[in-house]
């Protein structure tokens, strides 16, 4: 398990603990539940499980409001359960990373309680306190719907405290060396328990400065570099994944020179894939990839199609937001639910062809793919649940009561299991799909397997190819040893395409799933005929003659 670059080859799987499997019948998924389902994740080919917040919390913000960094949320289990999960996962070659919020705590956290009640005490300076609410006025308010200001008055201390998110989530004061050290202690605590890394939530906001927007400031990067150094010195093969919902050219700052975060999410890619398929042309994807800067060799993008959040457009440039609104928010199918608050299958009208095309792109574009639980079986959502709960319903394991998720009374479930005739648990569940070898689940498993046979998908260069047909998106993934050609038809109609493959003259394209040999590349443009929404992966094999 000492491969230091494992995260560049890994397939990640995002798990909502609450929604995955309920081991004790209380209606809420738990850590033991994940342990019990590890065999399934191993069978699917998952290399790393990403857990949403596991910590003690008043749960006013989905657990991102942490009231004790060193305790597990009781309804999820305890530290013993967590250690068991890590050990059992490691036995299967699966790694575990978890969300961690460094920027702020819950206002219920003892640090904050001590800080507000004893300004002169040890914790007095752990949060950002001021006598008035005028400082840092250039920092935007992120949750404009609920918050009026980034400052909130605390009647106990008689001062204002700084918060970039909800008013019940005060920002920690990273100017204070004690805070810097304390957060590193938190990381060490979990690393010592065997965790393989963290997704660092909301990292751009650690520091603030007058006259700036309070995002991506130099001291924030300096601190993250220190975190990286501490982690590298004492632990092997761990990963830091930055959640910075920013433009790729800004996000690359979080890689530093390969001495900051190992990974960062590529946020704009997913909507562009969606847009490209709707437009039946490749330019939305081409454009965003052309604008994505190169990253250090030991770094990797995390890419995803859907996750537990809605797609937010607030952290992109004005120009890009305009583009997104004109290009895609006008689409009536999106407008029905502001932003993207849907699962993959309903977004794609449950089209198997599109699900396969999108997943093929996810598994072949530059970056490590992150699957969202349930998308591998084509689970649906419940848009009537409001906010983001619609995509957080219980995992559908079987056609039995509660979808096999829990043995509790159905009324006790944290959210109702899906019941509708298309996506309900009787139609869509793991058990049924495992029994049917042509199911989406089996298809996904096989494609993950194929991806792993070609390390270039994780490690190789990416190069878009000139394709004669704007509906076809073709690119190469390659290193010194291997070249894989990926060709994707973004149109629902069959399309021909001519590719300029002259530099591979004499090579034979071999389709990687069926190992079918295609005609050898000559000096003329290479002609392929694509089925609607079809895609090919070819290994280009140079035959010595």
């Amino acid at each position: 398990m000492a491969d230091p670059l494992w995260y560049k080859r890994a397939v990640f799987y995002e798990v909502l603990i609450r929604g995955f499997y309920d081991s004790n019948g209380d209606g809420t998924g738990d850590i033991r539940g994940i342990t019990e389902k590890l065999d399934y994740l191993q069978w699917l080919g998952v290399d790393c499980i990403w857990l949403l917040p596991i910590y003690e919390s008043p749960l006013r913000d989905g657990g991102y409001d942490i009231s004790d960094f060193l305790k597990i949320l009781p309804e999820f289990g305890d530290l013993g359960d967590f250690v068991n999960l890590v050990d059992a996962a490691h036995e299967r070659g699966i790694r575990i990373v978890a969300d961690l919020v460094m920027n702020h705590t819950s206002d219920q956290h003892p640090w904050f309680q001590a800080s507000r009640s004893d300004p002169e005490g040890f914790y007095g300076d752990w949060y950002v306190w001021r006598n008035d609410d005028t400082e840092y006025s250039d920092a935007r308010i992120i949750f404009v719907d609920t918050e009026k200001s980034n400052w909130t008055y605390d009647p106990v201390r008689g001062q204002y405290y700084w918060h970039r998110f909800f008013s019940h989530q005060p920002d920690l004061n990273y100017e204070n060396p004690a805070v810097q050290d304390a957060m590193i202690e938190v990381l060490r605590f979990w690393l010592d328990l065997g965790i393989d890394g963290f997704r660092l939530d909301a990292v751009p906001y650690l520091y603030e400065a007058e006259g700036s927007n309070g995002e991506n400031l130099p001291p924030t990067h300096d601190y993250l570099k220190r975190v990286r150094k501490e982690v590298d010195e004492k632990y092997e093969a761990r990963v830091l994944l930055a959640e910075a919902n920013q433009w790729p050219s800004d996000v690359v700052e979080y890689f530093g020179k390969g001495d900051e975060c190992h990974m960062a999410f590529h946020f704009p890619l997913m909507p562009r894939i969606f847009m490209a398929a709707r437009r039946e042309q490749r330019y939305p994807i081409s454009e965003i990839l052309a604008q994505t800067p190169a990253i250090p060799d030991n770094c990797q993008w995390g890419i995803f199609l859907r996750n537990h959040d809605e797609l937010t457009l607030e952290m992109v440039t004005d120009e890009e937001r305009d583009y997104m609104y004109t290009e895609y928010a006008k689409d009536p199918r999106m407008k029905a639910n502001i932003g993207i608050r849907r699962r993959l299958a309903p977004l794609l009208d449950n089209s198997r062809d599109l699900l396969e095309l999108f997943t093929t792109l996810l598994l072949s574009l530059p970056g490590s793919p992150v699957l969202y639980y349930g998308d591998e079986i084509g689970m649906g959502d419940n848009i009537y649940l409001g906010d983001r709960d619609g995509v957080r319903t219980p995992m559908q394991w079987t056609g039995d009561r509660n979808g096999g998720f829990s043995r509790c009374d159905p009324a006790r479930l944290y959210l109702p299991v899906l019941l509708d005739p298309v996506y309900g648990h009787q139609a869509v569940n793991v058990e049924a799909e495992m029994r049917n070898s042509t199911s989406l689940l089996w298809w996904t498993k096989r494609m993950i397997e194929v991806r792993k046979q070609y390390p270039v998908f994780g490690m190789g260069r990416f190069e878009e190819l000139d394709a004669s047909n704007p509906s076809v998106f073709a690119f190469l993934r390659s290193d010194e040893h291997q070249t894989v050609l990926c060709v994707n038809n973004l149109s629902r109609f069959p399309q021909p395409v001519e590719l300029d493959l002259r530099r591979f003259e004499g090579s034979t394209p071999v389709e990687v799933v069926g190992r079918v040999h295609f005609p050898r590349v000559g000096e003329l443009p290479y002609l392929l005929t694509m089925a609607g929404h079809g895609s090919y992966w070819f290994e280009l094999i140079r035959e010595e003659t």
Partner: protein
């Protein structure tokens, strides 16, 4: 067999040969320069055929080459003659000569910043010229049918390059000789698709939906049209900055109206189907004479979706030769930029309708086609206005007249080339005059 006899046989079969309707009993071939001595040898000929002059670079080989059979011109005086742009042994010459800044027998090559020694590949599917791509770096256009220097294509590319215009790609190198511009080297635009092909993906999507409106289908093209309109306005602003621009005189407006009427009369004489609309079109032209002073400048001159390339970075406009059928002074004359706008508006109409010519669901889809064209025409004008500050639709008289003029030209073209498409420009005229 002489070289002239071989060329008389070969020339009419080339795509870029303009006068296909007429028999070509003989040609006169004039050797301008030997661009690459030795074997194979690259000789540059100018061939006179009827009233036109063509640039014909030929390679001469002592032995026949099987691989080049498709590019064979013939045998002449014991040598095997090939179309030089397709011969890999000689087609590197243009890049080399430009990089070296050489002059060969009065042919002057310029290209101070180009880097030689990249493999060339001829581009297929070309209409009026022949192009070579060097590596993935340079795009060389060899003009086939020659006009007197300066060719507006080179002139405009250089002028826009000098002011750093982002609306097109700059001229990196060129060759002039025999009184004409012979070649233009520009950066190769990678991963590009022309606007026509891109618009058709949208139209196809619309037709497949049937019951959805143009603004509801995923393939909506309007945002691209908007960007294209914006780019066109920047292009016009750059052209006005880099090259002459002024207000026309009132007399010039009268002259424009007369020219439009003359072209209409010629169109009606050639295509009887145009006659029922003649009076209405002519009426639309009358106000043009009263337009007085209007801004005129150098324009693209042959502006349509196919001249615009979408890349990963956005749109660029290519090809400033103007409408090849028109005489040179007309192509370089100062004109209203609304002509380009009109050309693009007509292009949207074509894109929307051309798939319907033999479509089984034609009648039902025409309504959708009109909707698509209107939506994209509006988006284009909105985009244009967003940069220019003035909306081209406010100049309704001129814009409509230029659209009609373009449609009359299209009627003539379709009548002689694609009679089944004649209904496209005719219905456009019908809508414009109704």
């Amino acid at each position: 067999m002489s070289i002239e006899a071989a060329l008389a046989d070969w020339l009419p079969r080339q795509r870029w040969y303009a006068d296909k309707g007429r028999a070509l009993p003989s040609v006169k071939a004039e050797l301008v320069a030997t661009l690459q001595p030795g074997s194979p040898r690259l000789d540059l000929y100018v061939v006179h055929a009827h009233d036109d002059r063509y640039q014909v670079p030929l390679s001469f080989r002592a032995e026949a080459d099987e691989q080049l059979a498709h590019a064979m011109v013939g045998e002449a005086d014991g040598e095997f003659v090939y179309d030089a742009p397709q011969d890999p042994a000689v087609n590197g010459a243009w890049l080399r000569l430009m990089a070296a800044g050489e002059s060969v027998a009065g042919v002057v090559f310029t290209g101070p910043d180009v880097v030689p020694d990249l493999p060339a590949r001829p581009l297929s599917a070309e209409q009026s010229n022949t192009s070579l791509i060097y590596g993935d770096t340079y795009f060389l256009k060899l003009y086939r049918r020659l006009t007197d220097s300066p060719n507006p294509d080179l002139e405009v590319a250089r002028a826009l390059g000098e002011i750093g215009s982002a609306a097109t790609v700059p001229a990196l190198g060129w060759a002039e000789g025999a009184g004409s511009t012979l070649a233009l080297m520009q950066p190769f635009v990678r991963n590009a698709t022309d606007g026509w092909a891109l618009a058709l993906t949208s139209v196809r999507d619309l037709y497949a939906e049937r019951d959805l409106h143009a603004d509801e289908v995923g393939g909506d093209f309007a945002p691209e049209s908007h960007r294209l309109g914006h780019l066109t306005a920047t292009l016009h602003a750059d052209l006005a900055r880099a090259l002459p621009a002024r207000l026309s005189t009132a007399e010039e407006s009268v002259g424009t109206a007369q020219m439009l009427r003359d072209r209409l009369a010629a169109g009606v004489a050639a295509v009887p189907e145009l006659a029922p609309y003649a009076a209405a079109v002519e009426a639309a032209y009358t106000d043009v004479a009263d337009c007085g002073e209007v801004p005129i400048q150098r324009i693209h001159g042959d502006f349509h979706l196919g001249q615009c390339m979408r890349t990963g970075e956005g749109w660029v406009v290519l090809d400033f030769e103007g409408e090849p059928a028109r005489p040179l002074p007309e192509r370089t004359a100062l004109m209203s930029p609304l002509r380009d706008v009109a050309g693009m508006l007509r292009s949207f109409d074509y894109a929307a309708r051309h798939l319907l010519a033999d479509h089984p669901g034609r009648d039902q889809l025409i309504y959708r086609a009109v909707e698509w064209a209107d939506r994209n025409r509006d988006a284009f004008c909105d985009g244009y206005a967003s940069f220019a500050g003035v909306d081209p639709r406010e100049s309704a008289t001129l814009l409509r007249a230029f659209e009609l003029d373009k449609a009359v030209y299209e009627v003539r073209y379709e009548a002689s080339h694609r009679p089944t498409w004649l209904s496209i420009p005719l219905s456009g005229i019908e809508r414009l005059v109704s």
